[in-house]
Amino acid sequence: MPLDQSFVGRTYPPTPPYEVGREKIREFADAVGDPHPAYRDVAAAKELGHPDVIAPPTFPIVFTYAASQRLINDPELGLDFSRVVHGDQKFVYTRPVRAGDQLTCVVTVETIRSMAGNDIITTRTDVTTVDGEPVLTAWSTLVVRGEER
């Protein structure tokens, strides 16, 4: 079943704040094996001019993926998650995510296209602090593979 085109342009209300924790950053850095001390050692991060440890570049997927669940699971959209593959992902950073940040996400559906029997949906997630400071924007494209015919 094709995705509901009327979702294009739809924006979901801001998510409840996600608090970035030092240990979560460490856990994520370990999971991608990135040894940089700025993720783990406050002194090393401060030496680089950061007020606290910073997160690895792909860490924002933790809260942007969670933020997109409301859309993905919206029964009106008609997305069969078992047929979804991740097509594209992009992050544009205003500043690095760091421990202590209270972040909120606003998810917007940018495009829904059909190509070769697949549905392709692109979302934009604008991430700001609870005080409204822009931190990053994430774009994510999901490909819903068509039913075999």
Binding site: H36, I54, F91
Partner: protein, 149 residues
């Protein structure tokens, strides 16, 4: 450890030191926990095969997180990365053994901008011998990095 490259050190064509990453089932479990992405195609062969995959595959976001280490370990400060995007073209199939699979990532400076930013294009392949003859698992993998002068 961190490379601490400066703008004056690079030109179009400068190669970043390549890296080879071994990915095992244990790495997928660790990444699932750290990222919150518990999609069973990343840990259950039964589920993966039911949706037409050859077996359990790595999270695309894990591959993306590994690939950027070529850049985070080249610069002094990972916050130098102001933009990072990829397209996932092929799944990284991870066998249920102790050896896992290997992802080879290399990077090259593709463009330099007058304001100190550079564009790095990354190549990520899986399989093949020492990265030769492997299949590309990411395309359009690109980071914009603001280097110190």
């Amino acid at each position: 450890m961190a490379g601490g490259v400066r703008y004056a050190d690079v030109e179009v064509g400068t190669q970043l030191p390549p890296k080879v990453f071994t990915v095992t089932r244990a790495d997928l479990v660790r990444y699932a926990g750290a990222s919150g992405d518990f999609n069973p195609i990343h840990w259950s062969d039964r589920t993966a095969r039911a949706v037409g995959l050859p077996g359990v595959i790595a999270h695309g976001m894990l591959t993306m997180g590994l690939a950027i280490r070529v850049v985070t370990e080249w610069v002094a400060d990972p916050a130098a990365i102001v933009e990072y995007g990829v397209r996932f073209t092929r799944p990284v199939v991870v066998p249920d053994d102790d050896t896992g699979t290997q992802v080879t990532v290399s990077g090259v400076v593709k463009k330099t901008f007058d304001d100190g930013r550079v564009q790095i294009d990354l190549t990520a392949t899986c399989g093949g011998e020492g990265g030769d003859g492997g299949e590309k698992v990411l395309t359009q993998a690109r980071a914009i990095v603001k280097l110190p002068s």
